[in-house]
Subunit: 288 residues, 2 copies
């Protein structure tokens, strides 16, 4: 069994990984080989001690080189769920793999795009965050996909292959050519509606030519860079929309720590890196 699983490859996750490595721990870090979209897109970072006026690209390159030097590999799987079992955690990925670990560090960031009204209420009843997990449920049906990042475009294509009809709300630039059964909508939906299950995606105005503002769908996929930690981890306590942690980055779940943007403001690299470091030390202490 692993000593620790780190969820997220932003500055907090990387800081935790470097420190766990320095402490000889057996761990995995899940994330993207690109580390973090937010870092790469940062224009100029002015207040990160040690790197003067570094660009996001430059910071990202430095981190990648450092991970390579420390022989830390980012596991390119998307975590779909973290389950606190008796004295261990089970981590499931959208690639349908399961991993076990004594501790978990959540460093999954925050999604800057707000959830759609009704999204959390219909989760598991027509709303899904995982194409590969739930796609087969919508074979031959009509679905809407709200996607926030180009990195997950392959999941849209996967869903289009299963569903009869896909309405796509793409919240990013340069959408790739899509299969014929995908219709691109140019408005952001304001609500997911229905009785017991999802029945309609509601817009303030018709979202495209010949498409009604009250659009009938069988399901809605919300594909985001980060799943809200409280959705990811059952029983996790939140506070003001962030994971509730103490000074040592401990959450309400024993052995589960959290670091970086997901624990709250300031959303800053230095803060994230600091909490990642503390979380790793808390894990080392916990494992004793």
């Amino acid at each position: 069994m692993l000593d620790c699983i780190i969820v997220g490859s932003g500055p907090a996750g990387i800081s935790a990984a470097l420190t766990l490595k320095a402490n000889g721990k057996n761990f995995m870090i899940f994330g993207s080989p690109d580390l973090s979209e937010k870092i790469s897109k940062a224009e100029l970072i002015r207040n990160y001690p040690g790197l003067s006026n570094v660009t996001g690209e430059g910071f990202s390159a430095a981190l990648k080189a450092q991970l390579a030097e420390a022989k830390i590999e980012i596991k390119n799987e998307k975590v779909a769920g973290v389950y606190a079992l008796k004295e261990k955690f089970s981590v499931l990925t959208q690639e349908n793999n399961a991993y076990e670990s004594k501790t978990v560090i959540l460093a999954c960031g925050v999604e800057s795009i707000k959830p759609i009204d009704g999204e959390e209420a219909f989760l598991g009843r027509g709303v899904s965050y995982c194409a590969t997990c739930d796609g087969f449920l919508y074979k031959g049906k009509t679905i809407a996909v709200v996607c926030t990042t180009k990195r997950l475009e392959h999941e849209i294509v996967y869903l289009a292959d299963l569903a009869e009809k896909v309405y796509l709300v793409a919240l990013y630039k340069d959408v790739a050519p899509m299969p014929k059964n995908v219709t691109l909508l140019k408005k952001i939906p304001k609500q997911i509606a229905g009785e017991r299950r999802v029945e309609r995606l509601v817009f303030a105005a018709p979202p495209a030519e010949n498409i009604p503002a009250d659009l009938p769908v069988d399901g809605v996929f919300a594909l985001r860079e980060c799943i809200a930690p409280t959705v990811l981890v059952g029983g996790l306590e939140a506070e003001n929309g962030h994971v509730k942690t103490d000074k040592n980055t401990a959450t309400n779940l024993k052995g589960c720590f959290a670091a970086g943007d997901c624990t709250g403001r300031p959303y800053q690299y230095a803060k994230a890196v600091g909490e990642g470091n503390i979380a790793a030390h808390s894990v080392v202490e916990f494992l004793k």
Copy 2:
């Protein structure tokens, strides 16, 4: 009046300074032009995100360049006391200057050498931390000086000029040639003793030839890189020997924040830098 005074020029203080600067705040940072002895002496830093296997010297040089670029000057005065007044702080230095500020960030590190038994009990009654503040009280008298850093050697010379006789316990290497009335002792004292005031410095065994283990002195100067924060700031709450802070780095004193090693373990650059960043944001929030 200043928006903020930062006490200490290690990674926590520098991180706070960079972030206050980025937020356009009017502040001063007190410390050493060498930043921090501890950084410079670090052999290799393996887990600071963004700088792979950097030496202490290299990290220090990067920070100095960054401060110069951001036009932040370290005020080379030693803070002797911080006083919480009504809605402001008064900061006194050993150079006999007073500064006023709306907020304070304590980033003064931890002293790795433990206080001598009796030191805190006799503070102000024969024990002093400041040669220039209290030296004149010992004109023509016999004193002991316990000094932990070469950087404060000039204070020993200053005291030797005033006192009749100085016994020096130097806890660092390469002690410079001293005036004739200075006797170097080679043992660490175990206790400061006396009735109402300091009367004797007690060793486990004679600390040098012809010097008794129970050495009569009129006063003891403890010259350290950092003064304990609870000694520095009246009324500051401590916990397990460190400044008690919450997740936002707030102490029990309104407007007084703390960051870095002085708030507790882990004693790590990433952690210090993270807390410095949070403290600066807490100051910005407080000033609103």
